[in-house]
């Protein structure tokens, strides 16, 4: 039996972060808009109940917003990034190791905790996260990441589970899997889902029971691995490509600890390259990059440090060189000498389709514009035609970056901290 894995996922994460510092947002419908205030990327339960869907463009929602008094906010990634650090810190004591999957989802290695009542353990962890950060979460426990993801979805969907689902229980696992649409299984793409449905494979349960050979024929080795994961056999190679707008992370442990900044940058550069590749492969650009690294948590007698910084990519980019430069800026700020780092990673957030990229370049005064045009020419020279084409498309569109309804940087800017009234 493989050691249990948990996935902790923050509920309506961006909305929950906003509510932490603005109580007037509690109990009312709230939506958070994507970069450039384009479409809804986070919705409170009340907004979901009003039928607002992920990705709905805001200009289609105007009537609903007015009719129901929906509170509309620009995204505040600085806040979401800082709150994520706190959420992970609150989880640390509850797991042997963790792997950040996206800004609001983290996998936890529960090896060594098997003897405990893991449902109670997960509840204690949720309570600690809620206490430290106010953020509500759900936890799914299972033997593989794919199953943990499924467990989490089940915990979210069924209020009777009180936010924790442990799918190591055979009866519960069967029950959940047979009610779980195959297209919603983590890693099953639209095309594969259609093929499976044509074969009469409608649920996670029937997908699990499909012969391995057939799985391979339908969806190559990727689907074969996925079927194995659904059977409780972990596959290290499960493709961790996050869905659009959800962000993605590239994380690795080091064979030998890294103690120098140059060594760290060597690793982070590789991850940034890989992250850029992933973005380009999926036709996405990112608006936020986080670089993080930490020491070996299993050796508490050694000096411990965890560093993490988020930088805004402005303009949004999928250019690996830009990502490396951003990773360097972040790493420089987070770096502390004198520690042996054993794990590092790059996380990208606020992803949008490259052709929808807000054109921030052409905003502002003429001088700024001239400088930016110079920079653009430079980029064209260095990177060739493709960049020039998208840039000119943007020029016609006259995009400008909007974030008119952004909340303050409550936790990261001393001039924007919340006020406590003493009146």
């Amino acid at each position: 039996m493989s050691p249990p894995i948990a996935l902790i996922d923050c509920n309506n994460y961006y909305v929950s972060c906003e509510r932490a510092f603005d109580a007037s947002l509690v109990g009312v419908p709230v939506i958070v808009l994507s970069n450039n205030d384009g479409c809804a990327i986070a919705r409170s339960a009340e907004a979901k109940a009003l039928g607002i869907k992920m990705g709905d463009p805001i200009h289609h929602l105007r009537d609903k917003v007015r009719a129901h008094g929906i509170r509309v906010l620009s995204s505040n990634y600085t806040l979401y990034g800082d709150m994520q650090r706190r959420v992970i810190a609150a989880c640390e004591a509850f797991a042997r190791d963790f792997e950040i999957y996206s800004i609001d989802e983290t996998f936890l290695d529960l090896a060594g905790f098997e003897d405990r009542d893991l449902v109670a353990h997960a509840h204690a962890m949720r309570d600690q996260v809620r206490q430290w950060t106010t953020i509500p979460t759900c936890v799914g426990i299972a033997e593989t990441k794919t199953l943990a993801k499924l467990a989490n979805a089940a915990a979210k969907k069924n209020p009777s589970m009180n936010g924790v689902a442990d799918l190591r229980d055979d009866a519960l696992r069967d029950d959940v899997m047979h009610g779980f649409p195959v297209g919603d299984v983590w890693g099953v793409g639209g095309a594969t889902a259609r093929k499976l449905i044509d074969l009469g494979i409608m649920t996670a349960g029937t997908l699990r029971d499909m012969p391995m050979k057939q799985a391979r024929a339908v969806g190559t080795v990727v689907l074969e691995r996925l079927v194995a994961e659904l059977r409780g056999v972990p596959s290290a190679a499960v493709e961790m490509v996050a869905p659009q707008r959800k962000g993605m992370a590239v994380t690795r442990s080091f064979g030998t600890p890294v103690t120098t900044f140059d060594g760290m940058m060597g690793a982070l550069s590789q991850y940034a390259l890989r992250a850029g590749e992933k973005l380009r492969h999926h036709g996405l650009v990112a608006a936020q990059l986080t670089a993080f690294f930490h020491t070996n948590r299993h050796k508490p007698d050694r000096p411990q440090y965890a560093g993490s910084r988020m930088v805004t990519l402005h303009p949004m980019t999928n250019d690996s060189l830009e990502l490396i430069a951003a990773a360097r800026r972040a790493a420089e700020r987070a770096w502390r000498d004198g520690y042996a780092y054993t794990k590092a990673g790059i996380m990208l957030d606020d992803l949008v389709a490259a052709d929808m990229r807000p054109r921030t370049l052409f905003e502002g005064d003429a001088d700024k514009r001239a400088r930016l045009m110079g920079a653009l020419d430079d980029i064209n020279g260095r990177f060739g035609k493709w960049t020039a084409v998208t840039a000119s498309q943007g020029f016609k569109r006259q995009w400008k970056l909007r974030s008119e309804m952004r909340s303050p940087s409550w936790t990261t800017n001393i001039s924007e901290v919340p006020t406590a009234r003493a009146r």
Partner: protein, 133 residues
């Protein structure tokens, strides 16, 4: 006579870390004082806020001061807390009087608030920071 039975004393020293001459290696490790780290002992659960008003002047917390609010610490009677009163963040001292919790100001002219279902204790104030001039 067997050796074990020979009376003998084993000297017993309680060793302290030598306080005299610090090793050069330790000296290399000295960092400048980080007042922020001293003030914020539990950064993952602490939030900085700015005080607006004089109702806690009696506790040494003035208008414009920065306070460190810790959510990991249990609010106990006597602690200065940030509480949400009908959703408004309010700075007061928590007091337990006659079986009820109260939010008590520490300056003249301000009223006490009974802790009921409209009040939520948000965090405990563990530090205050102020620049002079």
């Amino acid at each position: 006579m067997p050796f074990e039975l020979v009376p003998h004393e084993v000297p017993f020293f309680l060793c302290d870390t030598p306080a005299g001459f610090p090793s050069p290696a330790q000296d290399d490790m000295q960092e400048p004082i980080d007042l922020g780290a001293w003030l914020v002992e539990h950064p993952a659960a602490s939030y900085i806020m700015r005080v607006d008003g004089q109702s806690m002047a009696g506790a040494g917390i003035n208008d414009g001061d920065l306070i460190v609010v810790n959510r990991a610490k249990k609010p106990q009677s006597g602690a200065i807390v940030v509480a949400l009163v009908f959703g408004d963040r309010t700075l007061k001292r928590l007091r337990y009087v006659d079986g009820r919790h109260w939010l008590v100001p520490e300056a003249d002219g301000f009223t006490e608030i009974l802790v009921d279902e409209n009040v939520e204790i948000w965090g405990v104030v563990v530090g205050v920071a102020r620049k002079m001039a």
